[in-house]
Amino acid sequence: MSGFLGTAALLLAPGVPLALGVLWGVPRLRRHIGPLAPWAAAPALLLALLGTPGETVELSWLLFGGYLGLTETTRVFLFFTALIWFAAGIHGRGHLAEGDHCERFCVFWLFTLAGNIGLIVALDVALFYTSFALMTFAAYGLIVHDQNETAQRAGRVYLVLAVLGEALILMGLLLAARATAAPLLPMLAELPQAIAGAPERDLIIASLWLGFGVKAGLPLLHFSLPLAYGAAPVPVAAALAGAMIKAGLLGWLVTLPLGFVGLQHWGTIIILTGLFAAFAAALIGVNQKQPRIVLAYSSISQMGLVSVGIGAWMVAPEQGPLLAVAITVFALHHSLAKAALFLGTEVVRHRTRRPVLWLWVGLGIPALALAGLMPSGLVAKASLKYGLLTDAPVPEVWSYLPLLLGLAAIGTTALMARHLWLLRLEAGRDDAQPTAWHGWALITAATVLGILLLPLWGIEVPWMAAVGGLPDALWPVAAGLVLAALAWRWLRPLPIPPADVLVLLTPLPGLALRAGQALGVTGPAVRRALRHLEAKALDRYRSADHRLGRFTEHLWRRDASLLFALLLAVVALIGIRIA
């Protein structure tokens, strides 16, 4: 696609969902937009499949001047993002066109989608940040859609972290933009080099790493993931876990100074954090009791593995090209597989006349892919290990990385086993809803076949390394399965709450509930008491505010004119003195 068509495709990809979202404001059109909403991702999908990297569109009137375009990497991100939104949209047709508050759901859906597509095709910082913010804030409406207590808590945690993340990103972007040639119209592509040379380099890297880390589920910023994935409607969870989490990764990829020397310490920090996330999330995840929360921890764990790639890129810049491929492949593979797993959690609940065997084969495919036994998973893991092979001087931890990645795969296998086990308990709970099949089937097929598109797009996938890595991929899966079997026979899950250490950061509700249980007081009563306490704290703040007001205002209020007269006299005296 080139010329006029290419320009139109770049504009329509984010433009169609945005326009549909805006048109939703016209009450008469509203009921026609619901059925169209699943198709809003189609232009983006077409762009990803047929677009040419390198083509750009300039919109000088937009913000500080907007630029749209595709690169080799963002085309892959656009592909899986659009495909997941499309499949999730088809799956969630019920939410979009009928049901409680479906109209509200629909408008949030369209805006979140528009933001997610927009941030991928944006080439300038302002448009990227705008799209990112649009996605972040619109997604809140999707997460709290069910309006129950879990959803509200998830929404609150999500929003607090999201606002913090946005602030950190803004700070990082401003500081980074200042170091570019044109600080008022910075392009994303200029940022890495500018950051590498900026005097506040460490501060910028820290704010961007943490800011985007809120989306990408960095440890201690990850709380919203398990809560939101568990509470949001399933299609939303699929979009969150498949597409939006990768917006954080893309943020890292396009802004962090990857491929520049002298960032060993940051690389090491990112690698270690990634490994920690990979193992800790697996350990916490296998103790969870809801399939979707298990999947959330699996996402945190997988994002940890991807950040090992990011960190390695910083430590060994010369490995950049290989690692870039590895991260892209990994992102594609994990997104599609995770979206398929999420949609599967709802498919399995529907009683159907189809052979059960095929259902379970379908459910097993993405699980196997994540564990590393399907082509996509195999290639993803192998290319990451391949990218780590370097002759350059590297920190000591480096030599253990392949082994650690293998051990992490044990965790992934165990998580997937746990997930399928929990899923079995939920099978056939609800009545059939035929449309739910199509989206899930589409994305499951893409999990298997999506990887084949990469060579067409000029990305050199290390197939040979993948074949050679097969033995390496087998033992962790075998070990994971053995572990899972042992655990199923002899171990009981530990009672770890869905947002793990968040309870330690906000200990009061948990402690109160526990104490209440011990004293024989019911949960609702304890919650009422807590709400009362909260109201009291607010009252405290209000009365402190009132006192502050009295102090600063009444003092002046009564004698303001006198005071000004006094000031006048003093200043006049000083003036006369000096003159």
């Binding site: 937009l62 913000l63 709290v144 602030a167 933009a177 600080p183 008022l184 600063t552 209020r557």
Partner: protein, 498 residues
């Protein structure tokens, strides 16, 4: 007298004449008054548009006559002044429409609209003033013409607020007067010139100039609600909604901020002010006000009061921008003069709509209002997002330029203030949005009156939606010619490259 001078005078005269005629009209002549009011507002907007185009092409518009030897009355259209005139004429039109709907069947409308027009005339006078004397004249006229608006309801509370308002503003005015006189003694008639008129004075006078600056900043800071001179502003929110809207967005607080801009850019000159070391303390004062206002806003349950403290905080963004030495910071401050006006007037219109339609004044009573009044709530949401600085709203453009200006002025700590303020803004605006959109309605609203076929009276709804749309478009289309950003850029290029 040339045509250009007449047109310039016409901008001022439209609202002055409107004011006089409205005072003379009988209370019952509702339709005549409305038609006249709207006609004057539209005419003024057209004249302003004409002059804006002329100023863009560097045509001089000046109206001057000598009062006594050495003291001139000067009106002059420059880029900075036209920015403020443009804002006030545009918002005057919308506020007039809103006020007609809001005060339907209320008593004393003649008095209200008369002073309302007078208030706009003073604002335009402040914007067009070509020297300190003319500026002071209209600055004081503004005080006197807004007092009747603040106490319009005549309740005990509003009379009390009016009294405090007068104490503050007259006190501040006295300080300003003293400063104007002192400068007059030093350099004669102080005309506004880009780059300032004081830098040539003898260095031995510099301490005196610092003293005068301080005094005038205090005088202007009262209207701009700089901490700790802000106390009148939250009290004055007892006024009717259109008055609050005008007070917070255009008239009073903006007159203070605009005065500070004139003082820094066109009297002292930014480079001279910087060399005297005046900008640093001003930035600190503005930063304290920003944080203080946000912290206080957080505690308020009364919607208008929360918005009032938010104004205290947001107006200081403008002053912060002025105090950042460098073109980008200036740009951020000046563009926020327009952006804050558009966003805040939207929010006050919305608060008025909720109060008039649902009888809701408190935030805790807003649960589920989005279901009942979706259009107003969308406008409120846009305004609130703008205040937080979430793109693509206008507030984001301001924040980006202020942040970049701070970095280029080597004042990195200001970035921390901006980020903290954004977080606080999110903390006091997002819970309101949550209540409006996601909570179920808790109580019965007192919906006695039927207000037309929309969710509320069309007179109230249309201006709200229009200003919200402007606040959105000012951000999204910031790169277009004649956007606020574009115009601010023009001012800056004329200030820094004389």
């Amino acid at each position: 007298m040339t045509w250009n001078a007449l047109i310039l005078f016409g901008v001022l005269a439209t609202s002055l004449v409107a004011s006089a005629v409205i005072f003379l009209l009988a209370e019952s002549r509702h339709t005549t008054r409305s038609v006249f009011n709207l006609a004057a507002a539209v005419l003024k907007l057209l004249l302003v548009g004409w002059i804006v185009w002329g100023v863009y092409q560097n045509i001089d518009y000046e109206f001057r006559f000598t009062i006594i030897e050495g003291v001139d009355f000067i009106l002059r259209a420059d880029a900075l002044g036209m920015m403020f005139v443009g804002l006030s004429s545009l918002l005057w039109l919308f506020t007039t429409i809103y006020a007609i709907g809001y005060l339907e069947k209320a008593p004393n409308r003649s008095r209200f609209f008369g002073f309302f027009s007078l208030c706009v005339a003073s604002t335009v006078g402040i914007a067009l003033a070509g020297n300190l004397f003319t500026f002071l004249l209209f600055y004081e006229l503004l005080t006197l013409s807004t007092y009747p608006l603040v106490v319009h309801r005549g309740t005990r509370e509003s009379l009390r607020a009016g009294q405090v308002y007068l104490y503050y503003t007259l006190g501040g005015g006295a300080l300003l007067l003293f400063g104007v006189v002192a400068l007059h003694v030093l350099v004669g008639d102080t005309e506004f010139v880009p780059g300032g008129v004081l830098s040539g004075l003898d260095p031995s006078l510099h301490p005196l100039l610092i003293g005068i600056f301080l005094m005038m900043i205090i005088g202007l800071g009262v209207k701009a609600a700089l901490f700790p001179l802000h106390a009148w502003l939250p009290m004055a929110m007892v006024a009717p909604a259109p008055v609050s809207a005008l007070l917070h967005a255009v008239a009073v607080v903006k007159a203070g901020a605009f005065g500070i801009a004139r003082l820094v850019y066109d009297v002292y000159g930014i480079e001279f002010a910087f060399s005297l070391g005046l900008l640093g303390p001003l930035a600190v004062a503005a930063s304290i006000t920003i944080i203080y206002g946000s912290l206080r806003a957080l505690a308020q349950d009364d919607l208008k009061k929360r918005l009032a403290f938010s104004t205290v905080s947001q107006v200081s963004y403008i002053i912060l921008g002025i105090s950042l030495f460098g073109p980008v910071g200036t740009l951020g401050g000046l563009v926020h003069l327009l952006h804050q006006g558009l966003m805040k007037i939207t929010l006050f219109f919305c608060a008025g709509n909720y109060a008039e339609t649902l009888g809701v004044h408190k935030i805790s009573e807003l649960d589920g209002a989005g279901q009942r009044m979706p259009a107003t709530s969308v406008a409120f949401t846009l305004g609130a997002f703008g205040m937080i600085g979430i793109p693509p709203m206008a507030g984001f453009i301001s924040k980006w330029y202020l942040g970049m200006g701070a970095l280029q002025a080597e004042m990195n700590w200001v970035l921390g203030v901006l980020i903290l303020s954004s977080l606080l803004n999110a903390a006091y605006f997002l819970p309101i949005l949550y209540r409006i959109w996601f909570r179920r309605r808790q109580r019965l609203w007192c919906e006695g009156k039927v207000l037309g076929r929309f969710e509320t009276s069309g007179w109230l709804l249309l201006p709200t939606l229009a200003t919200a749309a402007f606040a959105l478009v000012a951000g999204v289309l910031a790169g277009m010619p004649f956007s606020p950003l574009y115009w601010a850029d023009l001012i800056v290029s004329r200030e820094y490259l004389p």
